[in-house]
Symmetry: C2
Subunit: 441 residues, 2 copies
């Protein structure tokens, strides 16, 4: 008998590596890591643990990885919907950000986002926003995994005045987080159209040493690509390639406008793509050619984008939309089957963020970032194939338990490290201030 910390017995385990479903298996966890996966009826003969959890109607999956969001923007959820992109940005989002975004906003917004993400099975998110120090601090307190983006943008904001100041603050934060297990960093140059060649070159030089992911909005809209071509004579992706940024570290978000040659070059470069279907649809940005990218061998992950353009942070819902949409875009009902959508939302996300040695699948040695989904409700009955039910039929309310690095952050649908009522009170306070000021009300 081996002593360990936690044993979890589940009706189904979907390890992602390898493909498929393990029926009636159990996971043994020690010091935050997965130490074994064995049939449930053998676990008691091999391991002893103070905490044994039974999930008799549940599927246990790796924690979902939200590879692109702006967590603090959850405080702007639904502030300005059904508007053209530029009206939305220029008349609502940017003025609201200029007026309200400060460290307190970022902390409170990140906490609200964390409530929603954890309760819907997201254990790790890749963030891009101002005051990433406060995002990082909130995640460390909560015990949630995150990759905070070291934001870089040409124009001044409340957070920094010059590209150099953004970079200096980013490097300082990166240094502060060196010892953190759960919170890591990525460079986050906002987009080709908001960061000029000088800062991008400086960032690349810095990254030759640091080797961080480069988290960037790329080819989000046709307008962006047309404008860049008009102004610079190059499509943004060609410019990034010329700047030596199209390489395995690049995490290119959206990518709705791609020629077949660009799809090939992205795949060849080893860069990752983050597909954000709900946001792309809502802002009428276009359709990311997910099936073609996957067929070309590119690593495609999934993100919700911010709640101001989605309007939720629900990765189960995002997986479902991604799996449905890819079939229609490819005109092929076999495109992006359920198991592949689940892989995009877990292992591919981990890979994009450079974390696939730690998370993204249920294998020995990886962190115990795990999510239990109860499939016994009418909405997911009967169960012929648990992966189909998870991707096409399950809702966020069927997530019952969530572990990050072996710590149970959601237990029977309740948060263990966040005071949900207090988070909601703070969100309501922000709403009253912001709604009073938004002209549209």
């Amino acid at each position: 008998m081996i002593n360990t910390d936690i044993l979890i017995r589940a009706r189904w385990i979907v390890p992602i590596e390898p493909d498929g479903v393990l029926e009636n298996h159990a996971v043994a966890i020690q010091s935050g890591r997965i130490v074994d996966i064995v049939p449930s009826d053998e676990i008691a003969t091999k391991y002893r643990a103070p905490e044994v959890i039974d999930l008799p109607h549940h599927a246990l999956i790796p924690g979902l990885v939200n590879a692109h969001t702006h967590a603090a923007m959850t405080l702007f959820r639904g502030l300005a919907d059904d508007l053209p992109l530029m009206d939305w940005l220029q008349n609502h989002i940017w003025p609201a950000e200029a007026k309200w975004v400060n460290p307190e906003f970022v902390r409170d917004g990140t906490e609200l986002a964390a409530v929603e993400m954890l309760k819907s099975g997201t254990t790790c998110f890749s963030d891009m926003y101002f005051f990433p120090e406060d995002t990082a601090r909130a995640c460390l307190e909560i015990g949630m995994r995150a990759v905070v983006g070291l934001i870089l943008i040409d124009f001044p904001t409340a957070y920094a005045q010059t590209p150099d100041e953004y970079l200096h603050k980013g490097i300082a934060l990166h240094d502060d987080l060196r010892a953190a297990e759960l919170v890591t960093t990525a460079f986050a140059p906002h987009a080709p159209y908001t960061v000029s060649d000088g800062p991008l070159t400086k960032l690349r030089t810095l990254n030759d040493e640091l080797n961080l992911p480069l988290h960037m909005h790329v080819h989000e809209t046709a307008h962006e690509v047309a404008e860049a071509t008009r102004v610079t004579g190059q499509r943004p992706l060609a410019r990034l390639a010329a700047l030596n940024l199209l390489q395995p570290n690049l995490v290119a978000v959206h990518m709705t406008q791609l020629t077949d040659a660009e799809i090939e070059s992205v795949a060849r470069s080893g860069a990752s793509v983050v597909h954000c279907p709900a946001s792309n649809l809502k802002l009428a940005s276009g359709f990311c050619p997910v099936h073609k990218l996957l067929q070309a061998g590119a690593n495609v992950a999934l993100g919700t984008d911010g709640a101001a353009s989605n309007d939720n942070l629900d990765m189960l819902g995002e997986m479902r939309i991604a799996a449905l949409l890819a079939k229609a875009v490819a005109a092929d009902a076999t495109a992006l089957p359920a198991h592949l959508a689940l892989r995009m939302a877990t292992l591919n996300g981990a890979k994009a963020l450079g974390l696939d040695d730690r998370i993204g699948s249920i294998v020995r040695g990886k962190s115990a970032d795990l999510v239990a989904i109860d499939l016994s409700a009418a909405d997911t009955q009967p169960v012929y194939n648990p992966i189909s039910q998870i991707v096409y039929a399950a809702g966020r309310e069927q997530v019952t338990d969530v572990w990050v690095h072996g710590k149970r952050l959601v237990a029977d649908r309740a948060l263990t490290t966040l005071d949900e009522a207090a988070v909601l009170r703070k969100a309501k306070n922000w709403q009253e201030k912001i709604a009073g000021a938004d002209k549209r009300r």
Copy 2:
């Protein structure tokens, strides 16, 4: 003081007619009908009722109308996913139907569907399936509103052998239901490619007298249209027009393949279209031009289709996908705004089914088919605009209470007229039988 049966006070009421949101209003209900809508602080001075319900964090909306489903097929949910349409139909769904569909299957499947639909805010559904007598009986017992389709198809099934037998059984069921308030009927010729001219002409003659809705799959896939054109020399819609079926009673489901001229002629005819976005995406059928249809003046309703091709019956989710997808298809972020998506899922559905004098909006004299959605969870906070939150952010789990014709069928998330545990037990029994037989397992 006027005596009435029920008073419901809500933080927000979205009446659909007129557009907009009423804050802190109340609805008075008597004998199943809405008798008044007044500010909450006036209700107690005008009305007295034995049942007073407070919904302090909720939006009260008209019951959702699922304008196209095959309820009993919920027992096949997830049986065969990610397959091309013809493989799915010919090798999985049709063999499963041939083997299993009988009155007991239809009753048990309809009950499972009703659990899911009621708990997610659907109060009325338009069904197309075999043994509609059993669907009708189940709905009458539950107290749920339904329009059962009088199925007509050329080929023999366990339900009927010839087109005439289908029609005779349909007329008999229609006669049986004459006195029913909650369950009405529609003719349901399956599709242009499965019903020939003879039976369609007979149906039309019968309907000159009965004036029922004509619920039919039309232009679902490019293949259907191409095959029909090859075999008959006509596109299916042109054939229906020649048979005098393209008129206000027609409820044309799917309609993913439409020329601009067809969009005009559908709008001019007064026919309704039922958009089923999840099913169209999942089967890679194509994109219904919802924005163009609405702009042309057509009545467009929403449906989930059956759970075998969705894989849920969640109209909140369907509204969200419809609102998101229409923007990308129209390349216009202002296309199908949230309030219009909610109208499609309520009043437009009622109109398609010929029930807009009874349901579809919260106005005096209509039936009290009402749904309460609690917006206080983190997922829908903050609330700048309740309609945005309902369409883009709310999940089925936020539905707390549902009334059909004044009867509370869901109270605090629990069903009052269905034994949910018994329904789930029966679903599990079917699963064991069906999974054993499906070759794919």
